[in-house]
């Protein structure tokens, strides 16, 4: 048996696992938002995967891993032409989809489906590949500086979250989220068991995300990477549970679920460079950061993010990247490596932030201009996106009890909704598809 086959097997399995993370995202985001928008969020997730695979195949992969144009962008391998290792493409396509789908949760319950898909395509085609080229291609300028981002705290998670922050900033909060005095209301998710399932699936898939990034099971660091991943996620959970108990007097369910993801994002950059004990600490810190970040974004910055995506992937993504400068066995401040690595890590985050915030802002503005805004009408938002954009609801529990069957729980919001649907449908097509 040749080594190539074994490596291929490993990368393929990791590909499957990262693919499966999208089931996790879909369940998490569905569970954490309201039932009247459930079909919409599911469609956003499914369509992200589908369009991402296609767009990354046609263009994104070439921009990311093609022969470099000055360390800035790749420029060969469109539609995989001339690409040998298409297994690596498959693995990377799932990463691209992950980056894009992070946005879907943050903009949930109010962004037009068409506008969202347009943004997701832009992410996969250029915004994400640019970052990826800088950091993961052989000749990226950040890679050359020694920037460490093993499996993508910055490349994947922070990039997705920064783009999400821009979209949320432009969108504004959901109706009813903020009061006139600026205080925030709780809008509880409608199905926490689904959300928890999403977290377990994400954690499961993350083993492939981090473990698969070795590209070979012969990598002597593999087992350590897996152990660090598990310890950091566990640290995130425990820290969030304890910290919410301290701060809010209850173990907050949805934050503790986010805590697992905080720990996972927190270890993604450093999984191959830190010791298990470092990973545990990084996860514990991530859990606390998460709780504060959610409060900060929600109440102070007024970035209404129903699922906590910006806090989890963005703030904890920064933490994970910077923490490498502290905990890396080679070059980490706490291991006597001085501040050099720390500086490079910070520089990398700053550069990526500049690019992503700027480019996403332009892209979203263009999408909005072309599509008549990126937000659904107030009426549709109140009624729920499911009925207006998809024509049916996610749940129909009542049908059996009452024989009413067609009673729409979300259909009561105004008589002219239906008459406007056709024109909306047209808008949407104009906007993005």
């Amino acid at each position: 048996m040749d080594a190539v086959a074994v490596d291929t097997m490993w990368v393929m399995i990791a590909t499957f696992l990262v693919f499966f993370m999208h089931a996790g995202f879909a369940m998490l985001e569905t569970g954490f938002s309201r039932s009247k928008n459930a079909v919409n969020i599911l469609m956003k997730n499914l369509l992200t995967m589908a369009t991402a695979v296609i767009a990354f195949y046609v263009v994104g992969f070439a921009f990311m891993f093609g022969d470099t144009a000055g360390g800035i962008l790749g420029m060969s391998g469109f539609a995989l032409s001339g690409v040998d290792d298409i297994g690596f493409f498959a693995f990377q396509a799932m990463f691209a989809a992950t980056c894009a789908t992070i946005i879907s949760g943050a903009v949930a319950e109010r962004m037009k489906l068409g506008s969202y898909i347009a943004l997701a395509v832009a992410m996969v085609v250029i915004i994400y590949p640019m970052v990826g080229h800088w950091i993961w291609s052989d000749n990226g300028w950040l890679a050359n500086l020694g920037f460490v981002d093993f499996a993508g705290s910055t490349v994947v998670h922070f990039t997705g979250a920064a783009a999400a922050a821009v979209a949320v900033f432009i969108l504004g909060g959901r109706i009813g989220k903020y009061n006139k005095d600026g205080s925030a209301n709780a809008i509880p998710g409608h199905n926490l068991p689904l959300g928890a399932l999403g977290v377990f699936i994400l954690w499961f898939g993350w083993f492939g995300f981090n473990g698969g990034s070795t590209l070979s099971p012969a990598d002597p660091l593999l087992t350590s990477i897996v152990v660090c991943t598990a310890l950091s996620a566990s640290g995130g959970v425990v820290a969030t549970a304890l910290y919410t108990m301290l701060k809010y007097k209850r173990v907050d369910g949805s934050l503790t679920m986010n805590g697992a993801l905080a720990g996972l994002v927190g270890i993604t950059a450093g999984a191959a460079d830190v010791a298990p004990i470092g990973a545990l600490i990084m996860g514990l810190v991530a859990g606390v950061i998460l709780v504060e970040a959610v409060a900060l974004l929600d109440n102070k910055l007024k970035l209404d993010d129903p699922v906590g995506a910006i806090a989890v992937h963005g703030i904890c993504g920064i933490w994970g990247t910077v923490a490498v400068g502290l905990f890396a066995l080679e070059g980490g401040l706490f291991y006597g490596g001085g501040v050099a690595l720390l500086g490079i890590q910070a520089l990398g985050v700053a550069a990526v932030m500049a690019w992503v915030l700027g480019s996403t802002f332009v892209v979203v503005k263009i999408i909005g201009a072309l599509g008549g805004g990126i937000r659904v009408s107030e009426e549709e938002e109140l009624a729920g996106l499911d009925f207006s954009e998809h024509g049916s609801n996610a749940y129909d529990q009542g049908s059996t009890a009452l024989g009413l069957g067609n009673r729409q729980s979300t259909a009561g919001v105004g008589e002219d909704l239906i008459t406007r649907l056709d024109s909306i449908a047209k808008d949407k097509k104009g906007a993005s598809v």
């Binding site: 209301n185 907050d252 934050l255 959610v294 109440n299």
Partner: protein, 113 residues
């Protein structure tokens, strides 16, 4: 005939139902409602945001009965649903013009016995 409408705490319902049955009440209709009154709501926390639970779940029982049973039934409901804390609920009484049993087309008191 009178219609007795009682709005009570959910957890008292099953006991009350059994008591009414033994007492001889022939039929009743219940539904889930939410209410507010003297009883104040509670505070929940979701992702760190506090929220007020302004409406509390109650059960509404509707019974159409003969006038002669009225006092005893009020008595019985009051007894079963009493805790002495705010939120125990209310009983309202209405006049009924007519009652019809669909199955037999009986009318009036016959329909409800």
């Amino acid at each position: 005939m009178k219609k007795v409408e009682a709005i009570i705490r959910p957890e008292h319902f099953q006991t009350l139902r059994k008591r009414l049955e033994s007492f001889g009440v022939k039929g009743l209709t219940v539904s889930e409602v939410a209410g507010c009154g003297k009883q104040k709501g509670q505070e929940g926390v979701f992702r760190g945001n506090k929220f007020e639970v302004t409406l509390l779940p109650k059960v509404k029982i509707e019974m159409v009965i003969g006038e002669e049973q009225l006092d005893e039934i009020i008595e019985l409901i009051t007894e079963c649903s009493y805790t002495g804390k705010v939120g125990d609920g209310k009983i309202f009484v209405f006049d009924v013009q007519e009652a019809i049993r669909i199955r037999t087309k009986e009318r009036g008191v016959e329909a409800i016995s």
